[in-house]
């Protein structure tokens, strides 16, 4: 097998040293079988440039840490095999999120803020009784909740979204999907009116232009298009009929 030599162009900027303006730096790496961008970037850091900043945690497409623009498209770097890419690869940090340095961005703070704003927890007036057995739930319902809960907060949908790129308060597909997760959960006692107060605005459902870049970019293959339509329908009804 002929081994390719990869040319990897990487965005460099460290907000700690603002005098050095952003620039692109080029590295070359010998491709090995089954190389992912996780392997390629670590090889660069260990053998060529130990100052290079990027984030990996699980390296298994589970934790959502490593999203970046790979040849212009938001991707999980750990899940991207170099053999699926041309030999010239251009890596940029995700837009929308605050830059920490080079390819590392602060998705964590953004999502914590989102979770606070959408109050992404079960709202109930019950208290837990340690002596009682669990409340029953239909398995179908459990699976439906889990389906929406599969979001790994990677930010790919947000980075590729036109609205999010111009409105920094837009909740994005990830935010609306979160609302959908709690809407289908019978344990959450919020009414549609309560949800409407959070997302019935241009920051929420009505900011979405429906171009579905989010749906294409989600590495978890969440049915974002469907979820957005579901939330929009419920919210439109609430807007008109006041959630009755």
């Amino acid at each position: 097998m002929i081994r390719r030599t990869l040319t990897i162009e990487v965005f460099r900027f460290n907000p700690q040293t603002p005098d050095i303006k952003p620039y692109m730096e080029t590295y070359t790496v010998k491709e090995v079988p089954n190389m992912t961008l996780f392997v390629a970037l670590n090889t660069i850091r260990e053998e060529q440039d130990p100052s290079l900043m990027f984030d990996f945690v699980c390296r298994a497409a589970i934790c959502g840490s490593c999203a970046m623009l790979v040849n212009g498209r938001p991707r999980l770097a750990c899940k991207t095999l170099t053999k699926t890419l041309p030999s010239h690869i251009k890596l940029l940090p995700l837009p929308v999120f605050k830059l920490i340095g080079d390819l590392s961005v602060d998705t964590g703070t953004w999502f914590r803020h989102l979770n606070l704003k959408t109050q992404a927890w079960i709202h109930t007036d019950k208290t837990f009784d340690p002596k009682a057995i669990e409340e029953r739930m239909d398995n179908e319902t459990a699976l439906k909740i889990y389906e929406a809960e599969r979001c790994i907060e990677c930010g790919c949908c947000v980075a590729g979204c036109a609205t999010a790129n111009i409105r920094d308060d837009f909740l994005g597909a990830a935010g609306l999907n979160k609302i959908a997760r709690f809407m289908v959960d019978p344990r959450d006692k919020r009414s549609d009116q309560n949800f409407f107060e959070v997302i019935g605005t241009d920051e929420g459902v009505f900011g979405c232009m429906g171009l579905m870049a989010c749906d294409d970019n989600c590495p978890q293959e969440l049915p974002l298009q469907m979820q957005l339509a579901f939330v929009r329908r419920r919210m439109a009804m609430t807007g008109i009929f006041g959630g009755k």
Binding site: L81, E134, A142, L143
Partner: protein, 607 residues
């Protein structure tokens, strides 16, 4: 020292995985002011990677009917090869069902019982009861007499972590992410918090607290070849040991999994072999029957891992630029079976190896998986050696797992122990005065600043951090791996001692300024090597085989001399840990036969 970089809190929790967040929520619910530190945003912690599930004896599903804490207790103690604390195991099995139900109350979408008849992969038919419909169901896991492992499809850790974090957000608990604890502030008797480094800016801060909880997870990555997340470098254990007074328990107890996907070491579940997959060598010869004619690929995890290593040592591994591996072959199971029953494996192979397992062989190798050892605590989670220091989760040695933990018991441990430790911490802080020992804080800050300055200033002809690290990883993998013997272990101890010395002379090739990743690695390395030495030296001294600790030269379990726990402290300036031993608490189940696993007989395999 300016006061701007001191943060005061009742309870400092280091680590935002399941154990840390559960402890934080409990302490906060008792009214404590809690601050959590984490290397990464909480929802990126390694706990999210656990897919299988967590054990609690609810007894709702057909194959779990009649289950109860007593049976769970027995499974746990046998699994541990009698190395666990039985009072701890008893407490754990009793609390686990409550802890699971509380998670359901908070929002975890556990899979539920669906009434009716169902056919299992082996062809047998079971019937789920109508009266149990809608209650939390469970799946099978190795080493359990009943189906007891509760789960949410293929993402249990993810769901539980997201739910725990939603409670953390709801309660408004302070979380500082991208912060790394580097040292504990202590005076040899009491712990006053930690010195930490901001991984965004590189700056140091002091966190001063009444009580400190270490919940930093496992150290898998000191073994290079590990299923663990890349941030699992054991720094929490290392900073505890670094105090010179806190012992680590049973560090030689390390669990391996036979099939990590080469060369990214992502876990390929046992389902692959359970359903009939073969292991092949470089000649595509199925070698397991040569070693284990009866059980073949289905021998216990430890046994299969040992055979694989031995076969590779003999030169039958597939050599590549990135190391040596063997093959897992599931092609003969057919496309239909692989696409339905083994879908998760199919996805992992496609995404991370670009392999279609219907047509191609899967490269695998035994891979480090779990650390049973850790910061030794009492049953309340209070660490030995320092007042005000607690530990929880994989970073601790509570000691629920002894020499082998059961699948599904570690997630459950994070939640159960987190709950218990959170309450005990609240009790402790209630009765403790807040003290700000200015001088002590200053000294500890200064010491860490000096380490950083020394590294930044070092001439550039010193040691390369990545080279030393790789050497440590290789040494552990080759000599302190699945198979152990006196000669290899001695060599490992020497090599690691040499590496420890050399790690004092690292020089950086980058500037080391700000959030520099090379500096971060250089700061961690000496502590990691000390952990490696604690494992290697503990394994060298333990002249028996028990659970995951398999000595080729001492293949039998030896209850007369070794029914005890290793404690490894590291007094300042020492070249080796100081080992002492304590008895194992046995309250209910005297040592006996595990009834499975060949740990005590397969040490010497046929050629």
């Amino acid at each position: 020292m300016s006061l701007f970089n001191i943060h005061l809190t009742d309870v400092l929790v280091i680590g935002a995985g399941l154990a840390g967040e559960r402890a934080a929520v409990e302490a906060a619910s008792f009214g404590c002011d809690v601050t959590i530190l984490s290397l990464v945003p909480p929802r990126r912690s390694h706990s999210t990677a656990a897919q299988g599930g967590m054990q609690a004896s609810l007894g709702n599903c057909a194959k779990g009917l009649g289950d109860n804490p007593d049976i769970h207790f027995e499974d746990t103690v046998k699994g541990s090869d009698w190395g666990c604390e039985q009072d701890v195991a008893r407490l754990f099995v009793n609390v686990a069902p409550i802890a699971i139900r509380q998670l359901a109350f908070w929002g975890v979408p556990w899979n539920r019982v669906v009434a009716g008849k169902r056919k299992l992969p082996d062809g047998s038919i079971i019937e789920e009861l109508k009266e149990k419909e809608g209650l939390i169901t469970a799946r099978a896991f190795g080493g359990t007499a009943k189906w007891r492992t509760c789960y949410t499809s293929d993402g249990t850790g993810h769901s539980v972590q997201y739910t725990m974090d939603s409670i953390v957000v709801k309660l408004g608990v302070t979380v500082h992410d991208r912060i790394e604890a580097m040292a504990l502030i202590h005076d040899g008797e009491r712990c006053y918090g930690a010195v930490a480094r901001d991984l965004r800016t590189g700056e140091l801060r002091a966190y001063v607290s009444k009580a400190t909880v270490i919940a930093t997870g496992g150290y898998g990555r000191i073994y290079g070849i590990s299923t663990n997340a890349v941030i699992n470098e054991g720094t929490g254990m290392a900073i505890a040991q670094d105090t010179g007074v806190v012992p680590l328990g049973n560090m030689e107890a390390v669990q391996f999994h036979p099939t990590g996907l080469f060369p990214v070491w992502i876990l390929i579940t046992e389902g692959a072999r359970g359903d009939g997959g073969y292991l092949l060598d470089k000649n595509e010869h199925r070698f397991m029957p040569d070693y284990e004619p009866v059980k073949k690929e289905l021998a216990s995890r430890d046994v299969v891992s040992r055979c694989m290593i031995q076969h590779m040592r003999k030169g039958f591994g597939v050599e590549t630029d990135m190391g040596t591996h063997l093959w897992l072959d599931i092609r003969h199971l057919g496309a239909k079976h692989i696409h339905t029953n083994l879908r998760e494996i199919d996805n992992i192979c496609k995404n991370f190896a670009g392999i279609d397992p219907v047509k191609e062989l899967i490269p695998v190798r035994p891979t480090q998986h779990y650390s049973m050892g850790g910061i030794r605590t009492n049953i309340d989670g209070h660490a030995y050696g320092l007042k005000g220091l607690f530990a929880a989760g994989e970073a601790s040695c509570w000691d629920l797992h002894g020499f082998n933990r059961l699948g599904g018991n570690s997630l459950a441990e994070t939640i159960v122990m987190g709950l218990i430790v959170g309450e005990k911490v609240a009790e402790y802080t209630e009765g403790t005065e807040f003290v700000l020992p200015q001088r002590l804080v200053q000294d500890h800050m200064k010491k860490q600043q000096e380490r950083i300055d020394k590294l930044i200033k070092a001439s550039n002809n010193g040691e390369n951090v990545y080279e030393l690290r790789r050497k440590m990883e290789e040494t552990l993998m080759e000599k302190v791996g699945i198979f152990r013997n006196g000669k290899d272990l001695e060599e490992a101890v020497h090599t690691l001692q040499d590496l420890l010395k050399r790690s004092q002379n690292i020089s950086l090739r980058s500037s080391g300024k700000g959030a520099n990743p090379e500096l971060a690695s250089a700061l961690r390395l000496p502590g990691m090597i000390r952990l490696a030495l604690s494992i290697a030296y503990g394994a060298l001294m333990r002249t028996e085989s028990r659970g995951s600790h398999a000595r080729e030269d001492y293949p039998q379990r030896d209850d007369v001399n070794w029914l005890k726990r290793t404690l490894a402290t590291w007094p300042e300036g020492n070249e080796l840990p100081e080992l002492s031993y304590e008895p194992v608490t046995i309250t209910e189940l005297p040592p006996g036969d595990r009834g499975y696993g060949e740990a005590s007989q397969s040490g010497k395999s046929k050629e």
